[in-house]
Structure formats: C-alpha cells, structure tokens
C-alpha cells in the first residue's frame, strides 16, 4: 500500500423486515448521514462516493442515478460496484482503494438493500434471477421440476449452503446441534446491537432446535432474515484521519479472490470442477493476501475479533477456519467452549452478523463497519471486553465463489 486509509465514521439504519416508513433513497440517506455525523464531516468535504446494492432486489436499475441526489452525489464522482452477496464488501474495498490510490482524500462508501420493496417473499426474486437465465436455457433441454428441486436442495434458500454445511459436517464432525448454538448466539448478540434485525435476548439453542426442519441439516431458526437496511462508512487518508478521529480504524489488508462457482451450472448448463463447496479456496487466498499486507503472521493470536458473513450458521464455523482463526475442522469445538462468544477468546460476529440481519447488498459492508466499530471502541453494548488490535471482516457472495476479506487495525499496516 502506498497510502494509508482509515475508517473515521460509521453509520447504519435500524434494520427490520419492513422499513416501510421510508423509501429506498431515504433509507440510504439515513445511513450516509449517520456516518457523516459520526465522522464529524460534512458532505461538502467528501470527495467521492462508492455505492452499491443488488439492483434486482430493489427493482430500480442504476439506482445511483436517482438515489444519488439524497447523498450529495451531484457534482461528485460516484462509482457503483455490485458483486452479488459481496456487494457491500466490494463497495467498502472500492472506497478504500479510492483513498489509497491518492485520487481522493475523503470517500463515503454506502450499500443498501430494501427487500420489502419486492413483492415476492424474502429474497426469492433476486436469488431466482441468478439462475433464471440458465434455467430458461435448461428448460429447453427438458429440465424437470425434480431436477430443479435437487439443485435448490428443496428450496433451502441458497441450496448450495445446505450441501456446503453437509460437506463441512462430514469433514469436521460437527452436528446440526452446533448450528443451533451458532444461530442462538447470533440472536443473543443481535439483541445487544440496536441496529440489528432478529433480536432475541437470552435465546437458547433449544429455542432454535424447536423450529421446523427445512431440509436436514437446516431448520428455519438457522436461516437469516430478509432485512431492509443500509450502512455507510466514511474513509479518510492518513492526515485527515489523524486530525478528525481519535481512534480511526486503519485498513491494513484487503483482498477479494474469486473461485469457480461451487454449484449449479456455468453459463450454459455445464458442470463445475469444485468438488467440495466448503473448501473455499477464494476465502483462503483472500485471507492469506490480506494478512500478508497487514503484517499478520499468526491470525489466531493477532486477530481479536471477527465479523463473518454467515447467513447460515455452518458458514460462521467453516469460514472462521478459512480465515485462519481456528484449525481446520476445529471451529465448532472452540464454539462449544464459548470461545466465539462476545466475551470469548475469539469473538465471532458480536453484532449478530448476517444470521441476524441480512440486507444483502449492505451485509458485507456491515461486516467491515462492525469490525471498524470494534477497533474504534464504539460498538456500545456489543463491544468485546478486550483490547482490539486487529479485526477481520469477511463477505461471501455469488455461488459461494466471491469473497471479500478486510483487515482493520488500531495502527496502519507496516510499510514494506
């Protein structure tokens, strides 16, 4: 890195299933202005904006053209980045690169999703469209409804997640009950985060276990909600960050390695060569690169808190391993011992994570934002009770083939 950048302000909206009190533009504006207020920066001082959502969910094409006027875009550079589930992570990283490049000094990165604007339940519109073009093509070759049920794992939202969980269980020895524990933790943590969606104080694994089975190994209680919400961060170069912020969250490493799509067809109905969707080479590579930039040699010791993108509880476990926080196949054992609780040795998703709040386009930016809050010491009720030197934020998207990994810390990355 030739120039340091840091988060100096964070803003998000209250997330819920129906933020019908505002329209899409007002929702985004709420988060951006919260962030500006937090950073004590006016929109006039902002040099550029990086924005993003998943267009298909909100039903507005090129939403920055319309929404831009609510967030001071006129007369500013605006870059819209969208990479599926990692959109938020990519937007955040786009913001970091904007400042690190030396082209801009203060940049606002914002991402949002408003699921309730879609008539179809949950995220189906968007998720279906990922595959729709391919399904249409395959119908021409006699794709049956049974084939479709197999691909979608009988409707377990993102079908591949259920398969991925099974692969992980087989490899690590973890059981469905451990997913209950992760989900219960997410809801308990969310109850301490005033912006989160599914808040359930004192939720127990038994509460989750009582919910109906979707498809073994997943229950309804395991799955993330579809939320309305937006998040925004203010990113500044070194001089300004030091001037404006007592304890900025420095970007120490960032990477977004892609892998081959892990299930379904390639563009025209072909197979894929990833034999195990829980292998996640993209996550491994991204983490390696980001830690290398950050000068982190042993993430187990040097990372103090992790914000992992876990719409499904299995993913908190398997991705924490890919991020090097636990040994392969051992995350669930650490979780059983309480190491991933807010007051544990390696807190994972103290905010509740995506499992409690999923405004898709924004979710991965929220991980960066929450990691930033932990470093800045501003996470209020869900602040981890220890010194946070380094925090890692993760995002996944696409057909579990897109990854973003960002490392934030209390000091800038060492110069090479």
């Amino acid at each position: 890195m030739l120039r340091n950048a840091a988060i100096i302000g964070c803003g998000q909206t209250k997330h819920s299933g129906r933020r019908r009190d505002v329209n899409q533009a007002e929702l985004v504006s709420e988060a951006v202005h919260n962030a500006l207020e937090d950073a004590q920066v006016s929109l006039k001082e902002v040099n550029a904006l990086v924005v993003g959502n998943m267009q298909g969910f909100g039903g507005v094409a090129n939403p920055d053209l319309w929404i831009g006027d609510w967030i001071g875009a006129p007369g500013k550079p605006v870059l819209r980045i969208a990479t599926g589930g990692t959109t938020g992570g990519s937007v955040g990283q786009g913001g970091f690169y904007s400042v690190m490049s030396g082209l801009y000094d203060i940049v606002v990165a914002t991402a949002w999703e408003k699921h309730s604007d879609s008539k179809e339940a949950g995220a189906t519109t968007g998720l279906l469209h990922v595959a729709l073009a391919n399904f249409f093509h395959a119908f021409g070759y006699g794709l049956s409804m049974k084939n479709l049920l197999a691909t979608s794992a009988v409707g377990a939202a993102a079908g591949v997640a259920a398969y991925q969980a099974r692969f992980y269980m087989h490899r690590s020895g973890c059981r469905s009950e451990h997913f209950d524990m992760v989900a219960a933790k997410a809801r308990r943590n969310a109850a301490r985060n005033k912006y989160a969606h599914l808040q359930w104080p004192n939720c127990t694994p038994e509460d989750i276990h009582k919910t109906e089975l979707i498809v073994d190994p997943f229950r309804y209680g395991h799955v993330c909600p579809a939320s309305d919400g937006a998040s925004a961060i203010v990113i500044a170069c070194e001089d300004i960050a030091l001037k404006k912020c007592k304890r900025p969250a420095w970007v120490k490493g960032l990477a977004s390695y892609s892998d081959e799509e892990t299930q379904m067809q390639s563009e025209s109905g072909g197979g894929v060569g990833v034999l195990d969707p829980s292998e996640q080479m993209g996550a491994r590579l991204s983490a390696m690169k980001a830690y290398q930039q950050a000068g982190i040699k042993d993430p187990k010791q040097e990372i103090d808190v992790a914000e992992i993108y876990q719409p499904f509880p299995s993913q908190e476990l398997l991705f924490s391993e890919k991020l090097g926080l636990f040994d392969e196949g051992k995350a669930w054992i650490a979780m059983e011992k309480g190491e991933t609780e807010i007051n544990g040795r390696m807190p994972c998703d103290p905010s509740g994570g995506v499992n409690a709040t999923n405004a898709i386009g924004s979710s991965a930016l929220q991980r960066i934002l929450e990691a930033g809050l932990q470093v800045m010491g501003k996470a209020e009720d869900h602040q981890v009770p220890k010194k946070v030197r380094n925090a890692v934020a993760h995002g996944w998207g696409g057909v579990t083939n897109y990854i973003t990994v960002t490392v934030l810390g209390e000091t800038p990355a060492p110069r090479r």
Partner: protein, 158 residues
C-alpha cells in the same frame, strides 16, 4: 466436436415479471394522497430555498434535511420549458411501436418550483406548443390519490 461448432441458441423465456411495491416515505405519501384533493405539494429546502416537486426529504443542492413543515402547496400552473413530440412508445414486450397519434411530452416547471416535471402535454393546438407557454394541470374527473390523478398538462386558463 470443435469450438467452432458450438453455437448459441436462443432460449424461450417464460412470461414472467417480477413485481415490486416501493414504499414512498412520508413526504411522497403526502404528495400522492393530496392529489385526491387536486393539490400539488412541493418541498422547499429550508436552507437554500430550492423547491422540489415531487417533494423529498433531503436537498440535493445543499444537503439540508427537509421536513413536513417545509412543504408548500403549488398552484398547478407552470411554464413549458421543453418538450418533444413522441412518435413511438415502448410496448409491453419492450419494443418501440409506432403511436397511432403522436403525443407531446413536456418538461414543465411549475410556478414556485425549481424541478421540472416530465408529463404529457395535451389539448393544445400543436402549433401553439412552444417553449415558454403557460400550462396547467388537467385533473382526472375522479381523483383517487394516485399519480394518475394528473391526466396531463394543458392550456392555461388563467
């Protein structure tokens, strides 16, 4: 089988449209509901005075917050600042089809507002449609609190 032989085929798409139900927010809700009373409300920025129609809660010029108290009622009369005569329109299958009768689409600056509204201009002799003429709202006979309550803009009756 060589790569050259691999051709693409066009897929038959199913007749499927994704539906959306955008929430409007408070100011826009007031705007739409007031159309039932044949009222047009605009939002005047408390800081710079720029007046938006339809209203919005954030000023794009100076970034000030705009609230319900900043709403002002407009007369529904304005000036045609620009227009075009449309010979085609997009049909349901997203193709351009010829209109039986060309229509006029105008950019109308309502008195007291700074935004332009892009609406149909009708019931004016085509030769009289020029930049700078005064126009006013033609309401539906039965207004119901929907954007379609504004039928089009037409000649100014004073």
């Amino acid at each position: 089988m060589t790569a050259e032989k691999i051709q693409a085929v066009e897929t038959n798409t199913l007749p499927y449209a994704a539906g959306f139900c955008w929430s409007t927010g408070f100011l826009m809700e007031k705007f739409i509901k007031s159309l039932a009373k044949k009222e047009i409300w605009a939002a005047k920025c408390p800081r710079c005075g720029y007046t938006y129609v339809p209203p919005r809660n954030r000023c794009g010029q100076c970034d000030a917050k705009i609230e319900e108290k900043d709403l002002t009622k407009l007369s529904g009369k304005g000036i045609l600042v620009g227009f075009t005569k449309a010979y085609v329109q997009l049909d349901a299958s997203s193709k351009f089809v010829d209109l039986d009768e060309p229509i006029f689409i105008g950019a109308v600056k309502l008195d007291g507002a700074d935004s332009n509204l892009f609406m149909q201009i009708a019931e004016i002799d085509p030769q009289d449609i020029k930049e700078g003429i005064k126009v006013q709202v033609k309401w539906q006979d039965q207004t119901q609190g929907a954007i379609s309550d504004i039928q089009y803009f037409t000649h100014y009756t004073g």
